[in-house]
Each structure stands twice: as structure tokens, then as C-alpha cells.
Symmetry: C2
Subunit: 407 residues, 2 copies
């Protein structure tokens, strides 16, 4: 046993690290119908395309050396070009590939932005509820997280402005589209307003938008970054939902000044993102596989969303509120009758007639005062429709039973 | 232009980031014979094996889903088993795979250890000279680096103990085998002594050992970690030199307590290392490709080392001192006659009859007082033998010319 002290940041993150282990630790039991994890469907993974591409290009006379040798810090240039042309331009974001950094997954983008901006004690404003995994990152950087209220249209700009005035934050962290955990989407008007607030108060708006590309109903909205006139908004995104999460590929779009600092921080973190997945993902776009693959996965998730929403409406008790996501992998339910979802989860997993997992709501709130304890995140992305119906039915029955028991 | 302040750590790393950009920025001109970069030979990359493995296992009914889906934080279990059995046990290190974390390249291991242990102002002891890229990491963590002297047998333990007493460091950073930049190897006696000093003074010994597996002459030595009785030594290694640098795969071997904290820091950095390269590297070991590949690359580098040493001895002026590495990719030359290698490099690249690159020595010293300004790191790993002879001849002639001119 060493006696040397760990750094202060490791103490700061103990709470959130504990929550993450608790939330996601026991979700892989095959006997359980799991609405818990946030992983994409395995049917959405382009396994055959990846093999075909590897077989074509991992050759001495093709891209084999490039895929295995050291690469450039910002990432593979043709992958960065594809981001600009196929993922940003169609969404109304004009960008130059020199402002794109390829990261080791979307979370690394969040991490690198913290390296750039967060000193211990700095305030980061987050949505209430928010993605707890990012709170863990923020706490590793010894930031103080303060929550901003949300409604059905996402983060409330009036509350954001008030919190900016009150706390002089360094950063605002926002998941604008098909939000994790709630599935909500920030309205157009608010996107403009949040970009403006970032510029006017000189706060970094960290826009984490990993679900935006899997929209399967409703009208597309431009990212907050499209309304950024000053470089205060930084867009972090991921290939996890449209290509493959295990590849750990993401990207950051930032101003020249921020990109130059990101270059230094990335160099000092892991030199560059793994080349083998970068080469294969770049070819996936260059060969034009993305549009058809995208259509396939959107169809798959639309069917699952529909199955989940119909089942919740059919099987959950009256008084249940749920969101209707136009994309992404999650819905969020608020249960009536003072039910505690943490207790419900324990009972659900223990009852041989139920055994349905979800994520209890309270872990997504940084307030820690019981907020969200009647809420649940319900993930439908990785469950087949008939299992969704069966799981929602079992869970709905359990909820009714518990409500009845509680009187 | 944003007005928001960057974090203090970005200011701390400006000096070292500038050195790295300067050192490695302009090394890819095909008209130059480059002894500059530290990349492995492209002939040492297992391009055909990687394609074959991908073609076999990236299938729905094999490891395709595993390679593309989210994975576990510590890394793929069969890859961790291979580390234990094929890379550690033969070197005299007994380890359990639960103490192995697979990282996104060797540098990420260094970075994560800093996350665990370094608060701003903490002292890290480093060799003089040392690997400047790691100094950049240390400065990102706002550590204060203090140098410990080296001789032909590596870091000098007497000076290390004195500096420990003087500075109460949190960490000692040491590259024991075929050291970057000098090619020197820490003696057996000193390995024992440094492990002991870590334990006795409760300092973390960060053993960075990415070259150790490419030994092509001399007798193998156990890592410092083999002599660690208390868990104070942490071994960070890389697959870059034995498999592929572009894959960004490395590993850390640490005590239970440290591994548990590494789990949290890795989660908050990028969740886990990319699965596609992990699956392929795991199969590379499981299928038994490593021993023959290892023999091939050792033969290749031995030939290049021999060509370089013979050429330096033949073409560099009398009074030149150089190291004789038993492995790795570098030798280190100290030039006579008060020559300044930074100026020499400029002249070498500008002279159409020379155009040979190397890395000038002074950037590897944190002292910044002119130390190493008559030294050069000479990398022979990625240059074919006939080009090594030609390059060393041209460079030797230039050195003689400059010495003659200087009188």
C-alpha cells in the first residue's frame, strides 16, 4: 500500500465516479431486459462494411502504412473533410477542416476543452438533469457544477442568463438535441439565444451533440454553433451513434485560437487518435456508404422509439409523463404517486417476473436533494421491438403494483 | 476572438509545446535524409497480418460486434492476458491481468498517472536529458520538473536520492531501457536501487519502457517494477514499437489501489481504448504471430544500428562521443570543438549537398542553460542502411567543415 497522496482532483470525482459505477455496473445480465445502457443497437454496427474496407485498404500499396504508422495530431485529413462536407455543411454549419480535431470518442473532446479552460474552482453550468459521465469529467477538473433549469424545449435561457450573472461561469455545457437523459431538443429560438449569451458574457458554450445525426422524425435544427459569431461556442460530436462507439472516434469544431490550443492538449494527452479506425471511417464516408447506412439505422431506431412510446402509453399507469424524442436513444418518464425509481429498480431486478433495467433519475441531477427520484431514463436503442413491448409491460405492471401497495 | 481566459495549465505548457512543434514539425520533407523522428520502420509494421486478422474476425459471427461496440474501461481481457503472459512474465514480472489497463498509446499512461498524482506545483524528477514530450505532459499538469543526472549506466541513484531529499517529489520519471534520447540502459543494480528509493521515500516511480522489447544485442534486464515491493513503481509501456504506433495502444501495470483510480481517470478521459485495434492486437498475440514478427523487427533494427554506429565511427570527426544502444531506435552523439547542434541543423537542412535531419540536443534538457547544445539525437529506426551510411557521411563531412571553419 502506497502512502503517497493522490491528487486533489481524484477526491473531487469520487462522488460522480461512484454514481457511474452504480448506474452502469450491472447492466449486462442476459436474463434482464435492459432499458439501461446507452449503447447503439448491435444491428446498427457496420460490421461487414468495416471488414470489406479493411480488406481493401490495409495493404502496403494502399493505406496500410498510414493506418499503422504515427499520424497527425488533428487527425486524418480526409476524415476531417468528410466531417465538414457530410456532417456539418448539411446542418447549416460552415467550417474549414483546419478547425476540426479528431478525438478518441466524443468524451475526449469534453475532456480536452476542460484541459483548455478549467482551473480548479471554475464554474460550469449544466442542464438539470444532465449527462452524469460529463459531470465526472468536470469534477476531475475540480470545477464547480451549477445546474440550469430545463423544460420541454431544453435549457431555459432566462435561467441560464441569471446563473451566468450570479456565478460568472467559465463554461456552459449543453446537450441540445435528443438530450441525455431526457430525449428533449432545444428549440431554434433558444439555440440562437444561447449562442448569443455565450458571446455577450464571454462564456464558452460547450455543445455536446452526439445524437443529432440520428433524427428519425420532425424537422432538423441547426446546431448552436451555427449561430456563434465570436468563437465562444465549441461543438463536440461523436461517430459513436452513426458509425461505431467502440472505435472511439469523435470530433471538435472550434475557432482557430482554440484549435491551436487543442492541438497542444491533444499532443500531451495521447499524440493523436488511433489511425486504424480513422482510416476505415474515412473510407466509409469516401465510398459513399454513409447515406444508406444512416437511413437504415434511423429506420431501426424509429421503430424502437415507436414501440417504446406506444408501450409506455399502454402499460404505464395514468399520470405518467414521458417525453417524445424525435431522435436519439432515450425517453424520460416521470412517475406519479411519489414513486422512488431507485427503489423501483431494485425491486424490478429482484422480481423474477419483472427483471427490467433502466436508469433511476436521481443520478442525473447534481443537486442531490431528491430531485428526479420519481424519474427514469428509458433507453430503447439496443432492444428489439418485441422485447421493448414485453419489458415495458412488465415494468408498467410493477409500477402499478407498487403504487397500489403504497396506497 | 474570445476573451475568456485559458486555464493556467495552458500557459505552463507553452514552452515545451513550442519545443515539440519546433523539433518535430519539419521532418517529413522527402528530399531530406531524416535521423530526426522516432517512428518505427514502415517495414516493421504488420500490415498483411492486420488485414488477415481483420478479414477473419470482423464478422457478425466472430469478433465484429465486440470490435465496434463499447468496451470495458480496463481494456480487452484477452489482450491484457497476453500482456501478462507474453510481455511481462518472460521479463521476470509477475502480474495479474486485473492490474493491467490498456491505454490509448503509451503517452496516455503517463497522462493518466499525472491525473492521479499531480497537483499544481508538485515536483517530478526527470533524467537529464529526458523525453521532452513527457515534459509537455508534466507541464500541462503544472508540475515542476527537476533534473537528475545520468551517466552511461542511466540515472544516477546518488543524485536521485539527493534530489528526493531536497525537493520531496511526487514522482520520478525514468526511461530505463534504450532511453530516449540517449539510447542508454539503466544497470541492474540501479534498477533495484531506484525501486527501493521509491518505496523508502514513498515516491511514485513512473517507469516508461517503450523500447525494452526491441533489444537486439546484450543481456535482457528485468524492469524496475520487478523489484517493487510496495506498489510505488508503475510500469507504462506501449505496443507502438512491437505492433503499431498508429494504433495507439499501450498499457499500465499498477497496484490494485492505483488501478482502481486509473479506472476512474480513464473513464473520465475517453471511456476506454478503441476496440478495433485492441481486438486485432489481441488476435496478433493469440495466433502466435508475435515471436516471428519480433524476431524480424529486431533483425531489421540491429542492421540499422550497426550501419549507424559504423558510419558515425567512420565519418564523424575525432573526439565525437556516441552511445552504443543494445536496442531501441536512437543513439546520441556529443560533438567536439564547441559545435552548436541547433545551428548545425539549420545549416544541414539548408545545404543542398547535405540535407540531413536530426534532433538538436538542447531541447531534451529542461535546464535551459545551454546544456546539450553540442549534442544530437540520431534516430536510425526508420532509415534504410544505405541511406544511413549516406546520411552519416554527409553529416560527418559537414561537421568537419564547420569545425575547420570555426578553427
Amino acid at each position: 500500500m502506497i502512502m503517497a497522496d493522490f491528487a486533489k482532483r481524484m477526491k473531487s470525482m469520487e462522488r460522480s465516479a461512484g454514481i457511474i459505477r452504480g448506474l452502469f455496473g450491472t447492466m449486462n445480465d442476459p436474463g434482464v431486459i435492459s432499458f439501461g445502457g446507452g449503447a447503439p443497437a448491435k444491428e446498427a454496427l457496420p460490421v461487414d462494411l468495416v471488414r470489406m474496407i479493411a480488406n481493401d485498404v490495409i495493404r502496403i500499396d494502399s493505406r496500410g502504412v498510414e493506418a499503422l504508422q504515427y499520424g497527425s495530431v488533428l487527425g486524418l485529413s480526409d476524415l476531417r473533410e468528410s466531417v465538414v462536407k457530410e456532417l456539418l455543411a448539411p446542418k447549416g454549419v460552415e467550417a474549414d477542416s483546419s478547425n476540426i480535431l479528431i478525438t478518441s470518442g466524443g468524451l475526449e473532446g469534453i475532456n480536452l476543452l476542460c484541459q483548455l479552460f478549467i482551473d480548479p474552482g471554475d464554474v460550469i453550468l449544466v442542464e438539470s438533469p444532465t449527462f452524469v459521465h460529463c459531470v465526472e469529467i468536470f469534477e476531475m477538473f475540480q470545477a464547480k457544477c451549477v445546474s440550469v433549469s430545463m423544460d420541454d424545449n431544453g435549457m431555459v435561457p432566462e435561467d441560464l442568463e441569471e446563473k451566468i450573472k450570479l456565478h460568472s461561469p467559465k463554461m456552459v455545457y449543453v446537450i441540445p438535441t435528443f438530450h441525455n437523459p431526457t430525449g428533449r431538443t432545444l428549440s431554434l429560438e433558444r439555440r440562437k439565444k444561447i449562442a448569443e449569451l455565450g458571446s455577450n458574457y464571454d462564456v464558452i458554450v460547450l455543445e455536446d451533440d452526439p445524437y443529432r445525426d440520428i433524427r428519425y422524425s420532425g424537422k432538423d435544427l441547426p446546431p448552436i454553433k451555427a449561430f456563434d459569431a465570436t468563437g465562444n461556442t465549441v461543438l463536440a460530436n461523436s461517430f459513436s451513434k452513426i458509425f461505431s462507439p467502440g472505435s472511439r472516434l469523435g470530433y471538435v469544431l472550434a475557432s482557430d485560437e482554440i484549435t491551436s490550443k487543442l492541438f497542444d492538449a491533444k499532443t500531451a494527452t495521447n499524440s493523436h487518435t488511433s489511425m486504424l479506425p480513422q482510416v476505415i471511417c474515412a473510407e466509409f464516408f469516401k465510398r459513399g456508404y454513409y447515406p444508406a447506412h444512416h437511413e437504415m439505422i434511423c429506420g431501426l431506431y424509429r421503430e424502437r422509439r415507436d414501440a417504446m412510446i406506444e408501450s409506455i402509453d399502454a402499460f404505464f399507469p395514468e399520470g405518467t409523463k414521458r417525453t417524445y424524442p424525435d431522435g436519439g436513444l432515450f425517453t424520460w418518464a416521470e412517475l406519479p404517486g411519489g414513486l422512488n425509481t431507485t427503489e423501483l429498480l431494485t425491486e424490478s431486478l429482484a422480481d423474477p417476473d419483472v427483471r427490467v433495467a433502466f436508469v433511476a433519475g436521481e443520478g442525473f441531477y447534481i443537486e442531490g436533494n431528491g430531485m428526479g427520484n420519481n424519474c427514469m431514463r428509458i433507453s430503447f436503442g439496443s432492444v428489439q421491438p418485441e422485447r421493448i413491448r414485453e419489458g415495458a409491460k412488465r415494468l408498467g405492471n410493477l409500477i402499478s403494483k407498487v403504487m397500489h401497495r403504497n396506497g
